[in-house]
């Protein structure tokens, strides 16, 4: 067992291992080799950016190159290591106050004598102000401090910070690697694991959900019925409405308890309910929080719709594969009879036009278009072919 076991399907791992070895020799007075003070982990959603950052952090703190067993490895994994701090956010943006709390931490000498590591997950959510607050510390960190930022692409980080970081580019993990991980680490049945890895199209978290959560599988099946229920105007509108409703339910599941807990914590932090008197500014602070929560809910909803569209898109890609007669692997192999039927009843040109309509809808939603209207328009275009 090693800390690298959690990093799935990444060919970059040996390089990081060598860097950790260089870092260890640097601690013993050797040369720095490939070790540097600021790292940027990039990769598509679900590729395991922050998992890779955490593994690298453990490997740096571990005296045995990330053995996965020692106290250092265990503490890093549990998030209790005194020399590894992490900044995570549920919100849309990392608040500047969060960064200000973190920066002094980065200046500390490592308590255990190796490295002082600060991980910023979702560094793409650093606003300009927050990034500015971070800049000085990333530019000229103390000798033993290591910054690890995570973001989908390097372009998501302001150039001033990006230029200071060495980029670790992750790829979409191969399906086989995800399936192996699901069977060995999560104890999932091999066939289910293979299905989940395929259906998730390389998104590790999504694959884990599909492998372990029957509800998630059921919702996906529901979504994949869409291309087969577009017979008339009414069905198209219903299909669009059902996608929006499912996304709303998703957002409720994800946000309701979280929202309530955050409001509760904020009130406690501002001292409401302890003295009986309502502290000043409480209402304003709660309002601010609720505004941010509303934005988050919108984002969760949009992400949920997008995931559904990715699934539908993969289905049409499968149809195209069948129509072209190429022997490529199908994402939805278990639906072969339905796919064959859809393939026979349309031409490859139609399928391509349909795929374009889905891509256009995804882009429109990203540009903040009205979700229901956008999906209605998409469903009607799919029907027309």
């Amino acid at each position: 067992m090693s800390v690298w076991d959690t990093v799935i399907g990444q060919s970059i791992v040996p390089l990081l291992q060598r860097t950790a070895a260089d870092a260890a020799s640097m601690l013993d007075g050797g040369s720095a080799g490939a070790m540097t003070h600021a790292w940027l982990f990039t990769g598509p959603p679900g590729s395991g950016r922050s998992v890779a950052a955490w593994a690298f952090a453990a490997a740096l703190q571990c005296p045995n190159a990330g053995c996965g067993q020692c106290a250092e490895c265990t503490e890093v994994r549990a998030g209790t290591h005194p020399d590894v701090a992490a900044l995570t956010t549920q919100g849309l943006n990392i608040r500047i106050s969060q960064v200000r709390e973190l920066v002094p931490r980065a200046a500390l000498k490592p308590a255990k004598g190796r490295w002082q590591i600060v991980i910023v997950e979702d560094a793409d959510r650093l606003g300009e102000d927050a990034a500015d607050a971070l800049l000085l510390s990333v530019e000229e960190p103390p000798e033993r401090t290591v910054w690890m930022l995570c973001a989908p692409t390097a372009e998501d980080i302001v150039p001033t910070i990006r230029s200071r970081c060495r980029v670790v580019q992750l790829r979409t993990p191969p399906y086989a690697d995800i399936a192996t991980y699901l069977t060995t680490s999560e104890g999932v049945d091999a066939e289910v694991a293979a299905f989940a890895a395929r259906a998730a199209q390389g998104h590790i978290g999504r694959a884990r959900a599909l492998a372990t959560d029957a509800d998630a599988r059921a919702r996906r099946e529901e979504v994949l019925r869409l291309p087969f229920a577009l017979d008339d105007l009414r069905q198209c509108l219903d299909a669009a409405a059902s996608l929006v409703d499912t996304a709303k339910a998703d957002a409720e599941r994800h946000c309701d308890t979280l929202d309530a807990r955050e409001v509760e914590e904020l009130k406690k932090a501002l001292g409401a309910g302890t003295t009986g008197r309502k502290p000043r500014h409480l209402d304003a602070a709660v309002k601010d929080l609720e505004r941010e929560q509303k934005l988050r809910r919108t984002r969760v909803q949009r992400d949920s719709i997008d995931r559904a569209l990715v699934d539908v898109l993969a289905l049409y890609r499968d149809v195209l594969v069948v129509q072209m007669g190429v022997g490529a692997e199908l994402v939805n192999d278990e639906m072969r009879p339905s796919l064959d039927r859809l393939a026979r009843s349309s031409s490859p040109e139609t399928t391509l036009r349909r795929m374009e309509a889905i891509v256009a809808a995804r882009e429109a939603l990203l540009a903040n278009a009205a979700p229901l209207l956008t999906l209605e328009s998409m469903a009607l275009t799919l029907r027309e072919g």
């Binding site: 105007l233 509108l237 540009a367 956008t374 209605e376 328009s377 029907r383």
Partner: protein, 325 residues
């Protein structure tokens, strides 16, 4: 209101309360009264936090030229302790033709200084928020009266219900209505007419003309709506809702009762008959095309099209063509 009924010209006035409209009016009333007494009156403004004892002395010392002066101190809760004491001292021994206006947003900060100023003889003008509907109604009635009109209680209440408690909004609506009213009498009918011009309504009118196939009128209404500040997104929402309702009605089986249809489509029962009328002339293919045109307009507007009028006009024309097809 208070600032209008009390003779505002006292040597020292404290304006206390968070309602910006009222406190601005109180300050303006002092300035106006001072200028009435002496047209050459000088007006200066200082932030409380920046005021020093020396600075205050300069502002309030009698000058050689003996001009009348109004000195407005904003955020008086932020003054330093020694300045607070100097203000109290000045209030006890005011200087002729120097009018001090101290603006305090209310709350506990510097409350002691405020109390000492009151005891020293400063005139207090309140600028409290009007949170109760009754207070807001009274405010509206006073505003209309002040603008030379009259408004009865139900009409004032209707106005408060439509606008809410925002005093600036109420004040501007009240003065507008007083001017619009014949003989200056504002009644519920006039208030209703006033609000017919509201944003959502304009979107609905555009949508109704469009789905009825009256493209020219729809375009005309659109121009009017956008010119008068209606958000293009509201018009798009109205168009989408109108077409969605028609498409749902078109797709519903025959022989269903209106009440059930209404529930299914998501409209009030009386609307079903209107929808039936509007549906004449539409085909499913036409509706499909129209909905897609509206979605394209939505994307154009959200995507920052520099001419949302053009994007929406284009959608209206396409809706017209889709209906005729």
């Amino acid at each position: 209101m208070a600032s209008r009924t009390v003779d505002p010209l006292a040597p020292v006035t404290v304006v206390v309360g968070p309602e910006a409209l009222l406190s601005e009016r109180a300050v303006a009333a002092v300035v106006r009264a001072a200028r009435q007494a002496a047209p050459e009156t000088d007006v200066s403004e200082i932030a409380g936090a920046e005021l020093t004892v020396g600075g205050l002395a300069e502002h309030v010392s009698p000058s050689l030229f003996a001009t009348s002066r109004v000195v407005v101190v904003r955020d008086v809760q932020d003054v330093m302790d020694d300045v607070g004491a100097a203000l109290v001292a000045h209030t006890k021994t005011p200087v002729e033709e120097i009018y001090l206006v101290l603006v305090h947003p209310g709350g506990v900060k510097s409350k002691k200084t405020l109390d000492r100023l009151r005891r020293a003889g400063a005139l207090e003008v309140k600028a409290e928020r009007l949170t109760k509907p009754d207070e807001q109604v009274a405010f509206v009635r006073a505003e209309v009266r002040h603008a030379g009109g009259r408004i009865d209680e139900p009409a004032a209440r209707q106005l408060v219900e439509a606008i809410g408690g925002d005093l600036r909004g109420l004040a501007s609506a009240a003065s507008q209505l007083a001017v619009d009213a014949e003989d200056g009498i504002v009644d519920t009918d006039l208030v209703a007419t006033y609000f017919e011009g509201r944003a959502e309504v304009k979107g609905w009118v555009v949508a109704d003309r469009a789905v009825e196939g009256n493209t020219a009128q729809a375009v005309e209404q659109l121009r009017w709506a956008l010119q008068t500040g209606t958000d293009p997104v509201l018009v798009i929402g109205a168009l989408a809702t109108a077409l969605r309702a028609l498409a749902r009605l078109a797709g519903s089986p025959r022989g269903v009762r209106d009440a059930d249809l209404a529930r299914d489509i998501g409209v009030p029962p009386w609307k079903v008959r209107v929808l039936r009328g509007q549906l004449r002339g539409w085909t499913p293919a036409g509706l499909s095309r129209a909905i897609r045109a509206v979605a394209a307009a939505d994307l154009a507007v959200k995507g920052g099209a520099n001419d949302s009028t053009l994007a929406l006009t284009n959608a209206l024309v396409q809706i017209g063509q889709a209906r005729a097809a």
